[in-house]
């Protein structure tokens, strides 16, 4: 959003607004409004994914992806394509949330960057998790999404969903007494690719790489050092 705004702004600055023809100005403003609409569409798309995922409507959730979109949740590995994504989601439980279950994956805090051509976008989201099954303790979880989107024939879709689990704990015990490790790749339905990054959830610490540049300095955040982790061998 911001970079595209800057690009348009740079254009506008290069040629003072009043030196531009009415047609040029209308075209520039139309572009800026399109990017605002794109950002809203991406926000709605990802929020909708969350509402489908909560109720285990896997068919609906998988339909939001591009034909060769990818889905990666924690350390389960990467699933590619709508069919594989839908089957990967079945590993969480059957289609349709069962009675006595809670599967909330709340999505908040989006930082959305739409490419200047309005055809792709990236976003970081905060994911808050509340899980429950009858007869078992509840689970609190939290994590970060770093996702990508593509506009195909005028419709925004998820081209890459990557959820980095930060931490999961038993509701009653809390972090000081319970740290639930992530699931590994499934033997029943193995992923198309291994996990793209190897890391541990809490008590381990990991920084999901930032897709956006620092909003004030404009510098890349790619060089932020990862904290060391003896268990996964990261120095």
């Amino acid at each position: 959003m911001r970079r595209s705004a800057i690009a348009v702004l740079a254009l506008a600055l290069a040629v003072p607004a009043h030196a531009q023809s009415v047609e040029q100005r209308i075209a520039a403003y139309k572009h800026r409004v399109s990017l605002l609409e794109d950002q809203n569409a991406v926000e709605d798309l990802q929020a909708t994914y969350g509402y489908y995922f909560d109720k285990r409507l896997w068919d609906q959730a998988a339909s939001l992806f591009t034909p060769n979109g990818s889905f990666e949740y924690g350390q389960r590995g990467v699933y590619i394509g709508q069919d594989h994504i839908q089957r990967a989601m079945l590993l969480f439980g059957p289609q349709g949330l069962a009675a006595g279950h809670l599967n909330n994956h709340m999505l908040l805090q989006p930082v959305i960057t739409v490419a200047d051509d309005g055809l792709s976008a990236k976003a970081r989201w905060q994911g808050m998790i509340m899980l429950a099954e009858s007869g078992q303790n509840g689970v609190w979880g939290v994590g970060v999404y770093e996702n990508e989107y593509a506009k195909q024939r005028g419709v925004w879709r998820i081209s890459k969903l990557h959820f980095y689990v930060t931490a999961e704990t038993d509701y009653d015990a809390g972090w000081t007494k319970s740290a639930i490790p992530m699931e590994g790749p499934s033997a029943l339905f193995p992923p198309d690719k291994p996990p793209s990054e190897v890391y541990r959830a809490f008590p381990g610490v990991y920084i999901p790489p930032f897709d956006y540049k620092h909003p004030v300095t404009g510098k890349s955040l790619a060089d932020i050092p990862q904290p060391p982790d003896d268990v996964v061998g990261r120095k």
Binding site: Q126, V142, V216, G218
Partner: protein, 258 residues
């Protein structure tokens, strides 16, 4: 946000007869201003959210770069820190060197923003909140932050994050932490707190930077909240003793007491 966009459109409709007499250039100037305002609102929201992601991973240097050189920071009851450098000093002294620490979780999830851009487009305000999920337990800061646009870039001008409630993992039905205070931990602030208030089970209504969106009336200026009174009054003196033990200390993570 939507409401205000509608309001803007409403105003435009009311102003329609005047528009008919404007040149296309004048109408485009107005359109430019409206689009810029929407872009500014998005950008200000984004800076607030990026702040949250930096807090989560202990990225204090990156976080301090979100602040203007002469910005101020005030969190909880700790007092005022003046300038970008002091923001960094505060974070690194109070919470350690840059980077997340093994076994530590301190997520400050950001949501519910109300953004307003000043008519001149140079400053902005946000009321928003964070939901803190940490190894220590739960927390609810509420922000009333001011932003400034310098050379086309939005930065924090004033960050203010008074606490609503902090509790241990057992929850706010079990215990509550008192508000922080200037000498609770290092570093000491540059100036004392702008407002003395207590957190849950007491409360203080943080003044709203914007009027009621339906009635258009501003938020009442007099202090509102339990135990709130102007500095120097007996009521305010008494409020300082609420939640403290006889020796004047404020116990942490004890059951709420009045």
């Amino acid at each position: 946000m939507m409401g205000r966009v509608l309001l803007a459109i409403g105003l435009a409709v009311i102003a329609a007869p005047a528009l008919a007499q404007q040149t296309p250039e004048q109408r485009l100037d107005e359109l430019d201003q409206r689009i810029t305002r929407l872009e500014d609102m998005n950008q200000v929201e984004k800076v607030q959210r990026v702040y949250g992601y930096f807090v989560d991973k202990g990225q204090w240097t990156q976080l301090s770069e979100l602040f203007a050189d002469d910005a101020t920071l005030e969190i909880g009851g700790k007092g005022l820190f003046l300038g970008k450098k002091r923001v960094l000093e505060y974070m690194q002294t109070a919470f350690g060197a840059d980077g997340p620490k093994e076994g530590l979780l301190a997520n400050h999830m950001q949501f519910q923003p109300i953004v307003d851009i000043a008519p001149d487009g140079k400053t902005a305000w946000v009321r928003s909140r964070a939901f803190v999920m940490s190894v220590g337990g739960w927390g609810l800061p509420l922000y009333e932050d001011e932003f400034v646009k310098q050379d086309g870039v939005w930065k924090f001008k004033r960050e203010s994050g008074p606490f609503t409630m902090y509790s241990s993992w057992k929850g706010w039905g079990h215990d509550a932490l008192n508000n922080t205070w200037p000498d609770k931990f290092d570093p000491p602030p540059d100036l004392p707190p702008t407002t003395v208030y207590l957190t849950y089970p007491a409360y203080w209504i943080v003044p709203f930077h914007y009027p009621n969106p339906v009635t258009g009336k501003p938020f009442p200026v007099e202090p509102v909240g339990a135990y709130e009174a102007p500095p120097g009054t007996p009521e305010q003196e008494a409020s300082l003793k609420v939640g403290r033990l006889a020796d004047g200390t404020q116990p942490i993570a004890q059951p709420p007491r009045d």
